[in-house]
Amino acid sequence: MLMAFMLTAFSVFAQNKTVTGMVTDDKGAPIQGVSVTLKGTKTGVMTDADGSYRIEVPSTAKTLVFSYVGFETWEQTISSQNSISVQLKPGQSNLDEVVVVAYGNVKKGDFTGSASQITSKDFQNRPLTNVTNAIPGSAPGVQTTAAGGSPGSSPGIRIRGFGSVNASNDPLYVVDNVPYDGGLANLNAEDVETITVLKDASTTALYGSRAANGVIMITTKKGKKNRNTLNFKLMQGVSSRGIPEYDRANASQFYVMMWESYRNSLLYAASPQPLAVANQNATNGIKGLLGYNPFNVPDNQIVDVNGIFNSSANLLWADDLDWTKELVRMGNRKDATLSFSGGNEKSDYFGSFGYTDEKGYIIRSDWRRFSGRVNINTQPTKWFKVGINLSGAVNKSNQASDGSSTGLVNPFYFTRAMGPIYPVYLHNQTTGEYILDASGNKIYDYGNIQLPGMPFRPQLGGRHNLAETRWNQELFKRNTLSARNYADVIFTPWLKFTTNIAVDVTDYQGSSYQNQIVGDGAPAGRASKEASKTTSYTFNQMLNFNKKYGAHNITALVAHENYDYNYNYLYGFRQGQAVEGNFELTNFATINSLTSLTDNARIESYFGRINYDYEGRFYATASYRRDGNSKFAPDVRWSSFWGIGGGWRLDREKIISKISWINMLKLRSSYGQVGNEGGISLYAYQALYGVSNNAAEPGFRQSTLPSPELTWETGKNFDIGTDFILFKNRLSGTIEYYNKVTDRMIFDVATTISNGQYTISQNIGSMYNKGIEVELKGDVIRNKNFTWNLGINGSTIKNRITKMPESNKEIISGTKKLKEGQSLYDYWVREWMGVNPVNGEALYRADVWNPSNSFVDGKGDTVTNSINNARYHYAGTAIPDLFGGISSTFSYKSFSLNFLLNYQLGGLVYDATYASLMHAGAYGAALHTDMLKRWQNPGDITNVPRMENSKTGVFDAASSRWLTGGSFLNVRTITLSYDFGKSILSKINASGMSLYVSGENLYLFAKRKGMNVNQAFSGVTSNAYTPSRIITAGLNVNF
C-alpha cells in the first residue's frame, strides 16, 4: 500500500506522452496491482482490476519495467507506440519481492542487509500447527532442532550461532511489526504471508537491545486492491511416531543378562563368593530380584547355573509386554480455514477464520485452536490512513507429560525403561491368564502388591504410565488477543507521521490432576490450577521521510517507542480428593500451595534510520536506537545500538550490464552493535530477599546480591555478501560471510559456595560466531509443461569463547566445559578406553597413576577402572561442520511435487537415552540389544563391559563412550499437488482449485536407530515426545 501510494505520488513529474496498456498472466488473465515504472526511477503506476494502466512518459524515458510478486519482471523498451501490453511469466526473479524489515519494507534488489524470507507459497500445503516449523531447512544461517511431536511444538531456532551462555539465544519474534509475547502456536499458519529471518546488524539494529540473536518477522496477509477472493482450505491427516524406538533386548535375553548382573555382583564383590556358589545363588535368586517370572517354568529354572536360558521356557503373557500398545494411537489432524480478502481504491481487507485440531500419537495429547483475524486498512482522505489488524485465538491442549526426561509420568521414559518381562495388566503368575475384575475387565498391574501373592516390580514399582496417563490431566486453555492499530498522517508526499498502538493479551489457564489410585497423586488425589495473564503494549510514533534529489534518493525515519510488559500469575494446589471426576480445587481438602505474583518490565526507546541510494547503484543505510530498560540499574539502563550497511549493484555498472548472463549482481556489507537482554531476570540488578515463611510465621531468605553494573550483552555483527541472478534468471543465489562477536557477555557468576553461592549476572565474557552461508536456487529444467527447480543451502558455524570470568576461568556444566578457546558445545567427558579383556571392567584414561586402580594397557596407555580417577578430556563438539536444507519442486502440467530436506554433517551427539539402556544391570530396567555384546569371559574383546548390578554408575558412567556421529538427513516434507483445469473450475465457478497430499518428518537418516539426533543444540538426547510424522490430504479452493 505504502509503495502504491508513493508510486502514485511520484508520478507528477515532467510529462511528454501517455502510454496505456494491459498486463496479463501467462494464461491471459488480467493482473491487478502490477507495478509499471520508468526504469531507473521511482516513477510509476499500478494496473487496475482489469489489468490496464496509464502512465505519463517523459521523452527521455527509454524503458518501462513491469513487476509483480511471483512473476518475472519484464522490461519493455518504449518505442513510438502509445500502447504497450505485456504478458508476465510466473517465475523466479525475486528482485522486486518485498522484504519485510524492521519498521518497514524494502525491495529485495535494494536491500543491503541479510535476510531470508519464507513466503506462504513455500509452506501453504504443509500441516503446520505451529508456523515456525516452516523454518528448519529453509533459511541459511539458521540452525534448528526438531520440534517435539507434541501438537503445537516449535523447533529451537538459532540464527548465526549461539550468542550467549547464560542469557537467551532465542531470536526476537516480531508479529506484524511488533515484538510478540504470545506463543507462536497461537497463529494460524494460513494467515501468515511471510516469515522473514533478519540476520545482520544493520537490519536488526532498529530492534536495539533485543536484536542480537536475530529477529524473526512474521507478517500476516492483507487484502489486495480490486482483487476480491474467497479461499477455502481443508486438510485432513494422520500422525504417527517419526523416529522408531531403540532396539531393546527381549524377555529371554533380558533374563539372562540380569542373571549375569546378579551373579557378577556376588562374584566380584569385596568379599566374593566362589563361582559355583554365585552361579547357584543367581539361578535361585534372580527371580526374587526381578520380581516377575514371565515364563512357564519354575523360578529357579529360568536361567541355569551356566547362565543359559531354559530352552523349554515360553512366555506366559507374550501379548501383554508392549507398554506402548495402548499409549500410542494413530493421531490425526484436521485443519480448515476460510479466508476472504479484497479492496478498492481507498480500502482493503482480509479476514479469516480457522480451525485446527491435532491429536498427537500419544493418547491425551492434542491441540485445538479456533482462530480469527481481521485486517482492514483504509485511506479515507489523501492525508490520513488508518488500519487495524485484530486477531484472536482460543487454544485448548492436553499435554503429554514429557517435561522431565526421567519423570515417571513421561510415557517415553517409562515405556523405554520398562524391562521386557513386566506385563501391563495383572496376570495369574502361574497360568499367565489375565486376572479380571468383577465386571470382567483387565486390571492394570502397578507392579506392587495389589493382590496377595502378587510380585513386586523393582523397576518403576507401584507406577503405571498407561493408567496414570489415562487418569491424570495436564490441560491448558489459552486465549489470545492481538491488536495492531496504526494511523498515518500524510503531510506531504514525502513526509508521513505514523503512530502504532499494539496490544497482546494472553490468558492462560492450566489445570493439572493426579489421580488417587496410582502415581504422584495417590492415594489422596491432587489438583492444581494455574492462571496467568500476560499483557504487553507497544506504542510508537514515527516520522517517515522519503524524497529524491536528482539521482539521490533518501528515506528516513525518526521514532519513539514504549514497551510495557505485565504478567500476573496465580497458582493453587490442593490434595485430598472428595468426589471422583471433579477436578475443581474445592473438591480437594488440603491446600498444598497458594501463591501469586505480578511482574513488570518496560523499555523506552528512541530510534531512527536513514536509507540512501544513488541512481539505484549505490546504497547506504544507517540505523540508531537508544533503549532504556527496567531490567538494569538506573545508571546503566540507557544504551545505544546502531548499524550501518552499504550495497553496490554491480549489474547497473556499464561494464557488467553488458555481460548478458549476469542479470543481477550485488555486493553488500554491514556492521553494527546490537543488544541482548533476553533471559535475564527482570530484577537482576537488585539485592533481594525471597519469601521463606516458617510455618505460619512470615520469613525471607537472601536470594540475590546486587549487580549494579549489569547491562546488555552487545552483539558486534559484521556481514559481507553477494547476491546474484544469472543465466536469464535461471540461477539465483547468495554467498555471505558473517562474524558475530558477543561482548559484555553475561555470565551468572556464582560467588563460591563458601560465600553463600549467590549468582551475580555480570557482563564479563566474550564469544564469537563466524561462518559462511551459501544459498543457490535454480531452474534445472524450464519447459512449457515441465519445470524442475532446485534450491540448496548450507551454512557453517565456528563458535569460540574468547573471554571467561576471571573467577571462573573454566565452567563445567553437564557434558560440557566452557573455557577460552573452546566452543559453547564442546564435550568435556571422561575418556573412554574400552573394556578390560581380563575382567570386563570399564576403563577410562587415568588422570593420575594410582596403583590401587590404574595400570598400563597393551597400547601403553595408563588406564583406570575408577571413575574418580578418570581423566576428562575435550572429546569433540556438538556443533556440526555444515548444516542446511535442500528444496525442490517438479511441475508437470497440472501436477507439482515438492520436497524439503534438512541435513547436518558432522557434530557429535551425546546419546544419553541410549546410555540409560546400556546400564550394567539395574534390576528390571530395559536393556539395549547392544548389551548382548557385553564382556562375559576372560579374553572377550568387546567395547561393552560386564553386567554387574553393583557397578551401575561406574561401568556406564558419563564418558566419550556415549558420543555418536550426529550427521543426519531428514525428509522434512514432501507434497504432491494437482491443480484443476479451467473446465472443472468453470463448473463450480471457482478461480482455482487444488488437491494435494503432504507429509512431514517422513524419514530420518541417522547413525543409530531410535536416536533423536536433532533434539538439542547441546547434542544431548533425552526422553521426550519423539517428533511426529504427519501425512495429510488437502483441498484448496479459490473463488
Partner: protein, 502 residues
Amino acid sequence: MLTFNFMTMQKNSLFILFITGLLFTATSCKKDYLETAPTNAVSSADVFKTTANAWTAVNGIHRMLYIQWNGNQDQGGQSANMIYMDMLGEDLVNTAQANGWFISCYRWLDHRNVNSRVPYFNYQFYFKIIANANMIIANIDAAEGPDTDKKIIKGQAQAYRAWSYYQMVQLFGKRFDASTANDTPGVPLVLEPTNVPAPRATVAEVYTQINKDLDDAIANLTGYTRANKSHLNINVAKGLKARVALTQQNWTVAAQMATEARQGLSLMSNAQYLGGFNDYTNPEWIWGSKQQEDQQTFFYSFFAYMSCNFNSSNIRGNPKAINSVLYNLISTTDVRKQLWDPTGTNTAFPIPPGGLRRPYMNRKFVAPGGSGISIGDVPHMRVGEMYLIEAEAKARIGGQDAQAAQALFTLVKNRDASYTLSANTGQALINEILTHRRIELWGEGFRFYDLKRLNQPLNRNGGNHQLSLAVVFDIPAGDKQWEFLIPQAELNTNPLVTQNPL
C-alpha cells in the same frame, strides 16, 4: 477535506516540528517509568531496616531446614543430611533398590565423588545458612527496634552459624582429636557477608569459632521465651554446645551443657514414643522443624524415605530397616523394640497401598497425614540425646561412673520399665551407653558422625545387609574415606581451597 499541499515548505516544516514535538513529549515517559520491583521478594535493605523485619530473616533460616534444594528429590533440607548420615552407617538397612535413591550413598560412593551431589549438598546447605546468618549478624545492630530483640535475633543467627560449621567440619575435616593439634584443613571460615573466597581454616580454628559463636548465642538468648520449638533458644544453644564438647572430648563441658539443655523439658511417654516422631510439641523435643500443609515437601520430605507409610516409590519398594544385629541387642521389654518388625509380616505396621513389608522394617517415623501427605515435623534435638551425652561424658571423665549410669538409667527406665540401674563400669558402661545411643537415635542422622567421632570402623557384617545392595561392608577406622571430598563446584570457584586425599 484537509490538505497540506497548499503549505509552503517553510510552514510545513514548522508544523511538522510542532506536531512531532507535541507527540514525542506527550508520549515520553515519566522518570519512574523504568523503575520496577518484584512482588515476591523484598530488597535486602528493607529486611534490616527494623528488628520487626529482621525477625523474618531468622524465620527464613528456619524454613531453609525443610525446603527442597537444587531441585533434587533427595535434598529436603536438614533431613537430607540426616538420611545421608544414616545411609553411611551400619544401623540403617536398605531392603531393596526400589527407585535407587540414596543407594550409591549407601555404597559409600557419593561422598567420595567430587561431582556427586552429596558432598555438594552438605557443603552448600550449611554455607547458605551461614551466609544468611552472617547477613543478620552484620546488619542487625543498625536496625531500628528494641535491643532485646536485636540480641535474640543475633543469638539465633550465631547458634545457626555454630551448628552449620559443626555439622560441616565433621564431614569435610578430619576427626577432632583432643590429643592432637587438629591443624589439618577444616572448612573456610566466612564470618561476614563477602564475595572474597577464603581458604580452609584448620579444624581447631573452626571449633574455636563454633565455641565462640555458641557462647555468644547462649549469652544473647538468655531470658528469651520462644514462640515454638522451630526457634533456637538457650536450650538449643546449650544442647549444641554439649554436642560440640562431646565431639571435642571435652567431657566436663559436655556433661554440664547436656544437663542444662534439658532444663524445662522432659522425656516422652511410651505412647508418645510410638507416635511416629513427627510432632514438635512432644515434651522431649528441644528443637524441631514445624511443617504445615501449604508448605508441602512431597517426595523430598524426610518422611518420603524414612517413614513406613508414605506412598513413595522409595518406601513402597524399600521400607527402611534396622540392622538385625542392633535389633537383637534391644531388650524385649523395651518400648523401642516395637519400632521394628523382625518378621516383615506385622500388619500393625502401616504401609502405603501396594507397599512391601520387609523384615526389620521400621515404624519409628510415620507420616502423620497418612500415606498421601509427606509433611511432618522433623526432630533436630531431643532430651533423650542429652541424657546420652551426659552419661557418655560422665563415664569418660573418670570416677563418675555412678552418675553416668544414673543418667543412662533415667533415660532407659523411661523406655523400658524393667530396666535396672547398670552395674557396668569403665568401657563396659561406655559400650552400654553407646548401644543405647544407637537404638535411641536410629534414623535421626547421627550414625556417621558418631562412628567418626568415636574413631570406629564401619562394620555391616553379620546382619541383614544384602551383599549386592550394600556392596561395602567394612571401612577401617581412620580411613581417608571418612572425609567427604570438597565438591568440585567449590574448587572451580575458590582457588584457595584444597582437596582432601582422593
